[in-house]
């Protein structure tokens, strides 16, 4: 393995993952030690407001929701480009701000179009 050095800034992230993992595992483990365990068919069935479930809870969703997901991914991509800009912002200053505003305004046109066409409505 070549000599790679992880930037020190990533150590808190690793620590965060480790703590999150252990928090979940420890909680589940001690919970399983303490709680009574007497399963029955009724207890293990999916809870549906007290009624016995009468059909598969899974159903196909309307295709229109996919548009919301696609729009989300596109604006997600926009957010990715905000990241390098934010890192160098203190160096570039006003010039960078204008460039980024232009970038965002162009995308706002698309947002306005989607809004105008009713793509964001949940009917």
């Amino acid at each position: 393995m070549p000599e790679t050095i992880i930037p020190a800034g990533y150590f808190p992230i690793i620590l965060f993952f480790v703590i999150a993992l252990f928090f979940g595992l420890v909680t589940l483990f001690f919970g399983s030690l303490i709680r009574p365990n007497r399963p029955s068919v009724e207890k293990l069935s999916p809870y549906e407001c007290g009624n016995p479930p009468f059909m598969d809870s899974r159903s196909r969703v309307f295709i229109r929701y996919y548009l919301v997901a696609v729009l989300f991914v596109l604006f997600d991509l926009e957010a990715v480009f905000l990241y390098p800009w934010a890192v160098v912002y203190h160096k570039i200053g006003m010039y960078g701000l204008v460039e980024m505003l232009l970038f965002i305004v162009i995308l706002l046109v698309g947002y306005a179009y989607a809004w105008r066409k009713g793509a964001l409505e949940w009917d």
């Binding site: 196909r60 929701y65 890192v87 179009y113």
Partner: protein, 174 residues
């Protein structure tokens, strides 16, 4: 073995194992969640290559965005349980494609002039700042064109899906 190597092997193993689970699990929702771990693992490997912008992009776009698309696609699909992508008749073509890709990858691996740096220069530094500077100065025009490209994709998605919805509505009325 040092800590960073241990973490590397955990990451690499998790990535490969979850990638295998994606294609072998019967319930495609489980496959999707295995894919989530694969994406996370690849992001971690990018961190090891000191490609921190790529890592952030991987987490934001793939874990945050593409996963949403995959889950939505599953919610739109009819068959979710007991899905098998194994077809006996497709083993041979599959192996051929796999072999071809392997040959290309190995050739790239062996023949590329990898820049291996030694000594004090081997410390890898974060790249986001350099990238940001280049994007906003030297490559400003491509940067702004990206937003136009995203705009085109946005409008295209709205137009295409609205047409589909309208057709369905009319079909439902008849």
């Amino acid at each position: 073995m040092e800590l960073k190597e241990i973490i590397f092997f955990i990451l690499a193993t998790a990535t490969v194992l979850s990638g295998w689970l994606v294609v072998s699990l019967k319930n495609i929702i489980h496959s999707a969640f295995a894919l989530l771990i694969t994406f996370f693992g690849v992001g971690g490997l990018f961190v090891y290559l000191s490609a921190d912008f790529l890592a952030a992009t991987q987490i934001l776009i793939y874990v945050g965005g593409v996963m949403i698309l995959v889950l939505f696609a599953i919610m739109l699909s009819e068959k979710v349980y007991n899905v098998s992508i194994f077809h006996a008749s497709k083993i041979l073509p599959g192996l051929l494609v796999l072999g071809g890709v392997q040959v290309v990858l190995l050739r790239v691996m062996i023949e590329s002039p990898w820049r291996i740096r030694a000594g004090a220069d081997s410390v890898m530094r974060p790249t986001t700042e350099i990238l940001g500077g280049l994007l906003l100065n030297e490559y400003l025009l491509p940067f702004e064109v990206i937003s136009v490209l995203l705009l085109a994709a946005l409008i295209g998605a709205v137009v295409l899906i609205r047409k589909e919805v309208k057709r369905r509505r009319e079909g439902a009325c008849l």
